[in-house]
């Protein structure tokens, strides 16, 4: 550890203890601490910055650092996560509860407004005077943007409004530029948490030593793990999870008592498993429990590959639903002008080059599905399906059930009178599989493959 945590206001031993809890994040913690200022300061107003904005990727230690600091240094604080706050009122309630005790939150009226919150805060703050700064930590702050438009501007300068020694700390995965409202607002102090480097990761992960194995062995294992996964995943949480899942397999030769085995051999043993884990567990195609079970029984049936979620892509549909889906696909990927050519008996020859406008010459499959009206879907459906179908209610209800199954998407509002428009939401492979089951050669009807 190059830089140790230092601050005049705190006991250095305590700081050392805190610093140990956050490896590779000492410099950020130091900056934060100096921003927070002296602990026991009889403060004059506005000495502390009203808001701090921390950002960085997932699992770069933002919440960990701030929470460790606040908890271990015993500072008054409230932590809320924006995901949980389905309403603003909930957030206010949480903050008041954490700062001033359980009684205060009941003072809030039903569906409280910002001014209610400020009012009660101002009432309560003098009742429980603190000689320290209060902190409000807001996690996943990017969700604030979807809440009331005045919430974010107020929070970043809450100090002025409530007339109290309070600092709001916003945590987010995206940059502040994306937050700035149109009308502009107070700029918080911005602090960036960079990604952990490979060395950092190695250092952090190596700390989770398995009690019954030596630290060197575990560190070697982490080295191998990072060698395989570092190129695709730098998420500490995921890596730690993967390490936990695969360590027992790594140790298997040792357990079997083959004496001293060098790391190279262990590497040879574990590497294929890690590769496989990258394709399955990491993508959550296979759940971790299944993976563990698989690891336990690999000896018996090596080749019995685990079937992940994506292996079950087949969908059984009623006969007409299949044709409706095929018709929707055709309507989505063929230009409407070409319908005559595909579905009329005596269409004559239409040359591809002269026939189309310029923009239609690019592959429709590259551009993605286009919306089409219900009428066109039904017209194609009737010409595609081989028997006469009465336009019964169940044909129409099948369209809406395809929408609920998310195989079609409905665009715009759901006013049926207003000629609803749909898009087909399935891939080419899927529709080919479907049309194969009904003996329909879809490729012959697709303009892109002409």
């Amino acid at each position: 550890m190059t830089a140790s945590l230092q601050h005049p206001g705190y006991d250095p031993e305590r700081l050392l203890c805190v610093a140990e809890k956050m490896p590779c994040r000492v410099s950020q913690a130091g900056t934060l601490l100096s921003l927070m200022g002296e602990r026991l300061q009889i403060s004059s107003m506005n000495e502390f910055y009203p808001s701090i904005f921390l950002y960085g990727h997932r699992s770069t230690g933002k919440s960990h650092v701030i929470n460790t600091l606040l908890m271990d240094l015993e500072l008054p604080h409230a932590t809320v996560s924006c995901v949980e706050c389905v309403s603003v009122g909930l957030m206010f309630e949480r903050v008041l509860l954490a700062l001033f005790g359980p009684d205060t939150s009941t003072l809030l009226p039903r569906s409280p407004s910002l001014s209610d919150f400020v009012r009660i805060y101002r009432q309560q703050a003098p009742l429980s005077p603190a000689n320290q700064t209060r902190y409000i930590v807001i996690e996943k702050a990017e969700l604030l943007r979807d809440m009331d438009s005045n919430l974010l501007p107020v929070l970043v300068r809450l100090q002025e409004l409530v007339d109290d020694n309070v600092t709001v700390i916003l945590l987010s995965e995206i940059v502040w530029d994306r937050f700035r409202p149109n009308t502009g607002c107070f700029e918080p102090l911005i602090l960036y948490f960079p990604d952990y480097s490979k060395g950092d990761l190695q250092q952090i992960l190596s700390q989770d030593i398995h009690p019954s194995y030596s630290p060197e062995l575990y560190s070697a294992f982490i080295n191998i793990l990072l060698g395989v996964f570092y190129s695709v995943c730098r998420d500490l949480r995921e890596l730690r999870h993967l390490a936990a899942l695969n360590f027992s397999k790594f140790c298997e030769p040792l357990k079997e008592g083959k004496g001293r085995i060098d790391t190279h051999k262990l590497w040879r043993n574990i590497e294929p498993h890690l590769k496989k884990a990258m394709q399955t567990v990491y993508l959550r195609d296979v759940s971790s429990v299944q993976w563990e079970q698989q690891l336990q029984q690999t000896e018996e049936k090596e080749c019995a590959a685990l079937k992940g979620l994506s292996a079950h892509a087949h969908v059984e549909l009623p006969y007409y639903s299949k044709f409706l889906l095929i018709a929707a696909y055709l309507a989505s990927y063929n230009p409407a002008r070409t319908d005559r050519r595909f579905f009329l008996k005596h269409h004559g020859k239409i040359k591809k080059t002269n026939f189309l406008k310029k923009h239609e010459k690019t592959s429709n499959h590259l551009l993605g599905p286009k919306p089409f009206p219900l009428d066109r879907l039904l017209a194609i459906f009737y010409s595609v399906v081989d028997s006469r179908v009465a336009p019964s209610a169940s044909v129409f209800s099948q369209i809406s059930s395809l929408v609920t199954l998310q195989l079609l998407t409905q665009l715009g509002h759901d006013d049926q009178l207003d000629a609803p428009k749909y898009k087909c939401a399935v891939a080419l492979d899927f529709i080919r599989a479907i049309s194969r089951t009904v003996n329909f050669d879809i490729v012959k009807y697709l303009y892109d493959f002409l």
């Binding site: 389905v86 730690r240 079950h312 199954l405």
Partner: protein, 693 residues
């Protein structure tokens, strides 16, 4: 049912009884089919609540990211059927694992807030009812619906249950029963809401033993479509696949239709309608059973002779004896009965037509014959299906229901498919025979091994035959064992067919004997021996088919059991609202039955309702309709209807009344979805239907 009161009430009770039996049967069947998947799920949940966190070592427990155990339940696209599965799942869970189960449907959870509220309502609300002390848990309201509230509630709850004073009903119940949250239709949930909910859940998974269950209609890969990696990495998903709905249907048909236990039978067309609705439209077994119920109701309602369609033989006899004169007359009217009479001796004919007593006796006999026919029909059907279902290109259909429908439609042995199937059966064996012939020259030298192969092959054939025979025998045995089959019936009437088959069976036995003899003698001329066997076997099957798989229409009094109005069923089950509206508008006579509306050319008469006239006029327009022109045309038509002189000044003039009527008709048309207002031109409306110019 235009018959007497007591008759129809009897029919009603019969119908109700039969339906209750069918319902019971299907429900038990459903439970049976769901058992496997539900048990798997139950096991999963039990395992989860004992938890990997507790089983694994402390190191693993600390290291493992806390995932929420999740079961992905793939149920197929027949969404209407799912309710029952989820209901039994809920019941099972509440009985054996945990009282905390919340079932969620997408349509009640549009936003995260409502989702939360529903979860809390279901969990806390149900528990409050259980305890009968609802005041201790005030109903969660508004902003207080959070998982934190749930956490508190759960803590107090588990504390309470762990105190010795309050003993739980079952001792095995874990101290911390899991909280199961079931998402009935994952696809329909708003992905955003679901993601947020899972994120929140993952924050509480340490304190609350949460388990999620996803009901999936399409395929498990939708999970990956709905949830991004950052969210799905919080879940530990295990997959459960349910039986496909076509298999489900086959089982249901097996139990309900391909059996002689239920006297009510749909005929070929009705069955076709029901099956095609299933296959073409909805894949829903529940709807299939509903259709069957409708057919049943219609049958008992409209067929006066359905009094004779009872489950028990005694009932049939009783009801036949109690048949009134009118009832007997209606029996005499039956086409199948008249055909039967015509085949009788003249004396017998007279007796049948005049003596009610004699008539009743004959009816009893005929109904018994019908019963016997059914008893023989299904085993033979299964036998034939077992033989032909593995043939190349399956000429007689892969599913037994297809074969059944073919048999119901007409004489199956006259069909091309049957002939080709039989040919295939013979050639199928023949090809192997050829194979042996090719092998012959090589094998002649070593006679021993030749016979060895031969013998094996023969044994194979024999095995196949015994297999068939076994199927047949089993079916027959079950028939005999069944409580309805009275011993004397089996002895007296049932004699003919079993006797025949017995005779055949002994034939086969002898064949095997000859086979053994042949093996001993080791003669080279064994091919013909095989051919004999094969032909005998095929002839035997053919004879069985010809004697037992005759269509039911040939049986006298088949109308008692068979429901035949498929058109009615189709109209009720597969409604065509668009066609009905079209019919109503273009030929109002069809519904109103007013003679004034009759026109010879099928057009709309002047006297038709305003709506019809307006509709007719709008058909002549293009995509955009000028309202004023339309009004003028309408006024002209209406004036003609009023009988005004075409030359007069008043003719075709728009007065206030006509104007109002026109506006009303147009707005009705808009209500029906034929037109809508458009912004392209202010005094125009747009057509929403096809046709026109």
């Amino acid at each position: 049912g235009c018959d007497g009161g007591e008759d129809s009430s009897l029919r009603y009770t019969l119908c109700k009884k039969l339906w209750d039996t069918i319902k019971e049967e299907t429900e038990s069947l459903q439970d049976e089919l769901n058992r496997q998947i539900l048990e798997g799920l139950l096991h999963f949940i039990k395992r989860c609540c004992s938890g990997p966190r507790h089983t694994a070592g402390p190191w693993e427990a600390r290291m493992r990211a806390s995932e929420i155990p999740t079961a992905a339940l793939v149920l197929g696209v027949n969404v209407p059927d799912h309710d029952m599965t989820f209901q039994s799942l809920c019941e099972l869970l509440q009985q054996s694992v945990t009282p905390h189960v919340a079932c969620l449907q997408a349509k009640e959870c549009g936003a995260l807030k409502s989702l939360m509220r529903k979860v809390l309502e279901r969990l806390v609300g149900s528990a409050a009812e259980d305890e009968e002390e609802g005041d201790t848990h005030p109903h969660p309201k508004g902003a207080h619906c959070t998982l934190a509230t749930l956490c508190e509630w759960y803590e107090t709850k588990s504390k309470k249950s762990s105190t010795p004073g309050k003993k739980r009903s079952s001792e095995e119940e874990p101290a911390r029963p899991p909280i199961v949250i079931i998402f009935k239709d994952l696809e329909a949930f708003n992905p955003r809401v679901l993601q947020d909910f899972i994120l929140i859940c993952s924050r509480y998974v340490e304190q609350l033993p949460l388990i999620l269950v996803f009901g999936i209609a399409t395929s498990p890969s939708t999970i990956q479509q709905v949830l991004p990696h950052s969210v799905s990495s919080l879940l530990c998903i295990e997959l459960f696949q349910s039986l496909s709905c076509t298999q489900h249907l086959s089982t249901v048909m097996d139990k309900l239709i391909l059996t002689h236990y239920f006297p009510f039978k749909p005929n070929a067309k009705v069955l076709q309608v029901l099956v095609s609705i299933f296959l073409y439209h909805d894949f829903s077994v529940r709807n299939f059973i509903k259709g069957l119920k409708l057919a049943l109701l219609e049958h008992y309602l409209n067929q006066p002779l359905s009094v004779l369609c009872c489950e028990k033989k005694e009932e049939v006899e009783l009801n036949t004896t109690q048949l009134s004169h009118r009832g007997l007359e209606s029996v005499r009217q039956l086409a199948s009965f008249r055909r039967y009479v015509e085949q009788q001796q003249p004396q017998e004919q007279v007796a049948l037509l005049t003596s009610d007593q004699h008539m009743k006796e004959t009816c009893k006999k005929l109904l018994k014959d019908l019963y016997k026919y059914h008893k023989n029909y299904y085993p033979v059907l299964r036998c034939l299906h077992a033989l032909t279902c593995s043939l190349p290109r399956v000429p007689l259909g892969k599913q037994i229901r297809e074969l059944h429908i073919t048999c119901l439609e007409g004489n199956v042995w006259e069909r091309e498919e049957y002939r080709s199937a039989m040919q295939l059966l013979s050639r199928h064996y023949l090809s192997k025979l050829m194979h042996i012939k090719i092998l012959c020259p090589h094998q002649v030298a070593n006679n021993d091994s030749f016979t060895f192969i031969y013998y094996h092959y023969f044994l194979n054939v024999y095995k196949k035959l015994t297999l068939i025979k076994n199927i047949f025998d089993n079916e027959r045995c079950s028939c005999f064992v069944s409580p309805e089959a009275k011993p004397e019936t089996a002895a007296n009437e049932g004699m003919t067919s079993p006797a025949k088959s017995m005779e055949k069976k002994t034939d086969l036995f002898q064949l095997q004997k000859t086979l053994l003899e042949m093996k001993e003698t080791r003669r080279t001329k064994k091919l013909s021996g095989f051919e004999i066997l094969r032909n005998e076997a095929l002839d035997f099957i053919d004879a069985l088919v010809r004697s037992h798989l005759v269509p039911p229409e040939t049986q006298p009094l088949h109308e008692v059991c068979y429901y035949s109005s498929s058109a009615l069923l189709r109209r009720h089950l597969n409604a065509t609202p668009r066609t009905s509206i079209q019919t109503a508008l273009s030929s109002p006579y069809h519904y109103l039955q007013n003679d004034a509306l009759l026109t010879e050319d099928g057009g709309v008469s002047n006297a038709a309702p305003d709506l019809c006239i307006v509709h007719k006029l709008h058909l002549e327009c293009g995509r955009l309709i000028n309202l004023y022109d339309w009004l003028e045309a309408y006024a002209t038509v209406v004036s003609a209807a009023e009988g005004k002189d075409p030359e007069s000044e008043e003719y075709g003039k728009v007065d206030e009344l006509k104007h109002a009527r026109f506006i009303q008709a147009v707005s009705e048309l808009q209500f029906l979805g034929f037109i809508k207002s458009t912004k392209q031109k202010t005094d125009h409306v747009a057509r929403l239907t096809w046709g026109g110019c």
